[in-house]
């Protein structure tokens, strides 16, 4: 059922059946290290280059999901997947062997939210019984694509974030499971004219604030409706801005807001500056941490909001700002 301007509450429920996540060594050494399905120490993941390594990440996550899930492989109707690389090469090379129809998505670091939203719409609309939503990122391939070659020495500003190496995948299904996707709120592209690609938290915070406000208005609720409101990769700078922006609008999220980018690394000891980022940041935190806490009934209702900074080196060099976007997914623990 359509709610308000940009939200949907699903008439036919959509459930999360199983998850799989894989990360690199640094993430494995972080605060959530013990919760990931697979931690791989080799940053190349046994491949010849960074792009292939990221494809391998997707492949390993998908293999893990297939081994964990009860859904037979031939009953997976679609995969909704994306990454950060040009022309989505991590996705296209990572998923080609599965012989399952794929929708390739680009939402920068918000891709996991976009994939889950579209997957849920597809199932709720009766167009599929089981779909996979997944997203990956790799520190080295992202640095190469958006910044400098890895061996080039430079100093990272305090506002910068560290791209998470990993891949998270969830199996969405029409069959009843403990955690459901109750609804979604789809984000607009919000641009407050920030031109600092090393402060992506500031680029994305207005989009996250816009999405949260829209969700509250559409559903006619406020911040107390959720046990947790969890953004993707705003980092400490973005979180502060988000809380300030929402306070201006009359909402106080200081007690129930969380950010995957802050949770995934130990900023002090791992020198990750403002926090983690990348598609995998929210995707693996969802699988390893958020959904586990929901299954254990620690949280019953969560607004999960992967955030994306729509950065391109071309538009950036041409003097354009970095717009932000966000995709909200309402997760609910069944009674």
């Amino acid at each position: 059922m359509v709610k308000g301007k940009q939200s949907i509450l699903f008439d036919k429920a959509v459930y999360i059946e199983e998850t799989a996540c894989i990360v690199g060594q640094k993430e494995g050494e972080g605060p959530l290290g013990g919760s990931f399905d697979i931690v791989v120490e080799d940053p190349m993941f046994g491949s010849k280059n960074w792009e292939e390594a990221e494809s391998r990440l997707q492949e390993m996550a998908m293999d893990k999901l297939l081994s964990k899930t009860q859904v037979p492989r031939e009953q997976i109707r679609y995969i909704f997947a994306g990454d950060l690389l040009g022309q989505l090469i991590a996705t296209s090379f990572g998923l080609k062997k599965y012989d399952i129809p794929v929708f390739g998505l680009y939402g920068a670091c918000s891709t996991m939210g976009e994939a889950m939203s579209l997957g849920a719409i597809t199932i709720s609309g009766g167009c599929a019984d089981n779909v996979v939503a997944m997203a990956s990122s790799h520190f080295a391939s992202a640095e190469k694509q958006f910044r400098f070659p890895l061996e080039y020495g430079n100093q990272r500003p305090e506002t910068s974030t560290w791209t998470v190496t990993g891949c998270g995948a969830v199996m969405l299904t029409a069959q009843s499971q403990p955690v459901s996707i109750k609804g979604i709120t789809t984000g607009k592209i919000v641009d407050f004219g920030v031109k600092d690609s090393m402060n992506m938290g500031a680029c994305m915070a207005p989009a996250a604030a816009d999405l949260i406000t829209a969700n509250f208005k559409d559903l006619e609720v406020d911040e107390k409706y959720y046990d947790r409101i969890i953004t993707g990769d705003l980092g400490v700078v973005g979180r502060k801005i988000l809380l300030d922006l929402l306070r201006e609008k009359g909402y106080d999220l200081s007690s129930n807001h969380m950010d995957c980018g802050i949770e995934i690394f130990d900023a002090k000891n791992q020198d990750t500056k403002a926090g983690g980022s990348g598609c995998a940041c929210s995707a693996v935190t969802l699988c390893a941490y958020i959904l586990k806490n929901m299954k254990n009934r620690k949280w019953n209702r969560v607004l999960f909001i992967p955030t994306g900074a729509l950065l391109s080196t071309v538009s950036y060099n041409e003097g354009k700002s970095v717009p932000g976007t966000a995709h909200g997914v309402i997760l609910e623990r069944q009674a």
Partner: protein, 157 residues
């Protein structure tokens, strides 16, 4: 519509001001001290090279040349072992500005883009970082040479 544009511009300006206030900044003094130490150590190392080369019978000019080559070689080797970036992470401009930093900026793309082939990888992309320095360095020296020629010509008349 026009008013909306002005409002948006104003909103963006206010937001960017606000972001500037809340964004944490690295300590400028600490960075300067670290850069001073790192740069100083690299220069000291260069001085040691010169002394050793001259000790072994090289002229001062030859020793300076060999020192440059030695520092570049050392930087490239450290880049290959992924140690140079660690030095720069700590030392900042102290290791970016000397010739070792320049060597690092050429070696790093060579390593990274090797996977894309000898021609389109290394060949096309080796100067992605150092390219501007080379281009504008040559342009500036050309302009300086031209000025020097004009001054000489003027003085000769």
């Amino acid at each position: 519509m026009k008013e909306e544009n002005i409002n948006e511009q104003q909103r963006n300006r206010q937001y960017n001001e606000y972001v500037k206030q809340v964004a944490p900044k690295a300590s400028c003094l600490a960075n300067c001290v670290k850069a001073f130490i790192t740069g100083g150590l690299i220069c000291t190392l260069g001085q040691i090279f010169i002394a050793v080369y001259m000790e072994n019978g090289m002229s001062k000019e030859d020793a300076a040349l060999w020192t440059t080559l030695s520092l570049v070689l050392l930087s490239v080797i450290l880049t290959g072992f992924n140690i140079y970036p660690l030095i720069t992470t700590w030392g900042g401009a102290g290791s970016l500005v000397p010739i070792t930093g320049f060597a690092n900026s050429v070696a790093a793309p060579a390593i990274e883009y090797k996977k894309e082939g000898q021609v389109f990888g290394i060949g096309c992309k080796i100067f992605t970082i150092a390219g501007p320095v080379i281009l504008y360095g040559i342009l500036t020296s050309w302009v300086a040479g031209l000025l020097y020629m004009l001054v000489q010509w003027g003085a000769g008349r």
